[in-house]
Amino acid sequence: MIDKRVSGPTEALRDLGDGASILLGGFGLCGIPENCIDALVQKGVKNLTCISNNAGVDGFGIGKLLATRQVKKMISSYVGENEEFERQLLSGELEVELIPQGTLAFRCLAAGYGMPALYTAAGVGTEVAIGKETRNFDGRDYLLERAFDADYAIVKAWKGDHDGNLIFRRTSRNFNPLMAMAGKITIAEVEELVAPGMLDPDHIHTPGIFVHRIFQGKGYEKRIEKKTTRKR
């Protein structure tokens, strides 16, 4: 089989330079590649295009890359939890493209499956449709959306093996398996890295063929955005 292991985030990101486009897994702060985000900050690469459902919060997640002004453009579906983001957006420092959440998912899927484009009903008749082809099938309108063409995908999984096979846990799966399929180079950080044969083939969410570099991350904070509980 094929060993995809690298020593850590620095080696994983070795060839990622200024101006790169990056798909970043996660929904809110759930399932985000914490180690790689820290390494991107340390590396100091600039003018990044980040494609991620959200933009983190002030001081955590993609918010860290915004604080250091490393992001030129964000492509997201929802960006509401970040004051620095808002400041940069209103001052014109940051470019933002907002797209429907399902469209974000499907454009990753299309890239991963070698489909150049897809049709979705989301956004028909709205400003999202401006400049896009609208086409009617069987009496309903759909927008033609193009597959993503991003340089890197950086994802976070629960478990992985040397071959790059990935397993996600609960709702931390979200966009991670889709982005893993869509990157030209896909980097996976995992909480637990195991030897080939330790994962049941039927339990694997992302086959290793989609993953180019894998390492076991350290010190996950897994910050909770909105802690909601019942009292005993």
Binding site: F27, G28, L29, C30, G31, N53, S76, S77, Y78, V79, G80, E81, E86, L89, L90, L98, P100, Q101, G102, T103, L104, A105, F106, C108, L109, T120, A121, A122, G123, V124, G125, T126, E127, V128, R140, W158, R169, R170, T171, S172, R173, N174, F175, N176, P177, L178, H205, K222, R223, I224, E225, K226, K227, T228, T229, R230, K231, R232
Partner: protein
């Protein structure tokens, strides 16, 4: 006049037995509390779970288990987790039967605006454009008028829209209304101790009143 809990309670009656439902943030989230115990309803959260349960017990929060509002949650026996493409796949194919969400404006043709106010910080549409575009049933839970006292039920939306001709029914503190096929808000029910005139005054779009309008039953 209803409070938020009252609106949620009334909407809960619209949820069929044996159905899959997606609840938006705000009043819609409260709907889950009022589903009759003998009804089998499964809630989907579009970040990737079918079968969401109540909030976790204090100290048992799992950072890997949240809903689309980023709140910590639990799952019920029979739940399943999946990626975002499958999640929006089941939405777009209409397998999620009903979506209940908030709105800034609804037009008399069922257009919905709930994601953007020009000149203000735009947070994004999240999954709303997908949910309303899907071939399922879309119900709106909202206040009848905005904070300036202006009607949110309009001839045409003034704000950028989330979806066209997507809303079936609207539930407010004053009334239950249905979008007429030819356009207009058909007044179906009044909230307790609310008069038809009160609803008329709060509705800017065409209000269709046929016969006696009953008071809501819960």
């Amino acid at each position: 006049m209803l409070d938020k809990e009252g609106i949620a309670k009334r909407i809960a009656r619209e949820v069929s037995d044996n159905s899959y439902v997606n609840l938006g943030i705000g009043i819609p989230t409260l709907v889950a509390n009022y589903i009759p115990p003998d009804h089998h309803v499964v809630f989907q959260t579009e970040n990737g779970l079918l079968g969401t349960g109540p909030f976790p017990w204090e100290g048992e929060e799992d950072p890997d288990l949240i809903n689309a509002g980023k709140q910590t949650i639990t799952f019920l026996p029979g739940a399943s987790s999946f990626d975002s493409a499958m999640s929006f796949g089941m939405i777009h194919s209409g397998k999620v039967h009903m979506t209940i969400l908030g709105a800034m404006e609804v037009s008399e043709h069922g257009d919905l605006a709930n994601w953007k106010i020009p000149g203000k910080m735009v947070k994004g549409m999240g999954g709303a454009m997908d949910l309303v575009a899907a071939s399922n049933k879309t119900l709106v839970a909202m206040q009848h008028v905005n904070k300036s006292g202006e009607s949110k039920l309009l001839p045409e939306c003034t704000l950028p829209i989330t979806g066209r001709r997507c809303v079936q029914k609207i539930f407010t503190e004053l009334a239950v209304l249905e979008i007429a096929p030819e356009g207009g808000f058909i007044l179906l029910e009044r909230a307790p101790s609310v008069s038809v005139d009160q609803i008329k005054n709060a509705t800017k779009g065409r209000l269709i009143i046929k016969g006696e309008i009953p008071e809501m039953i819960f």
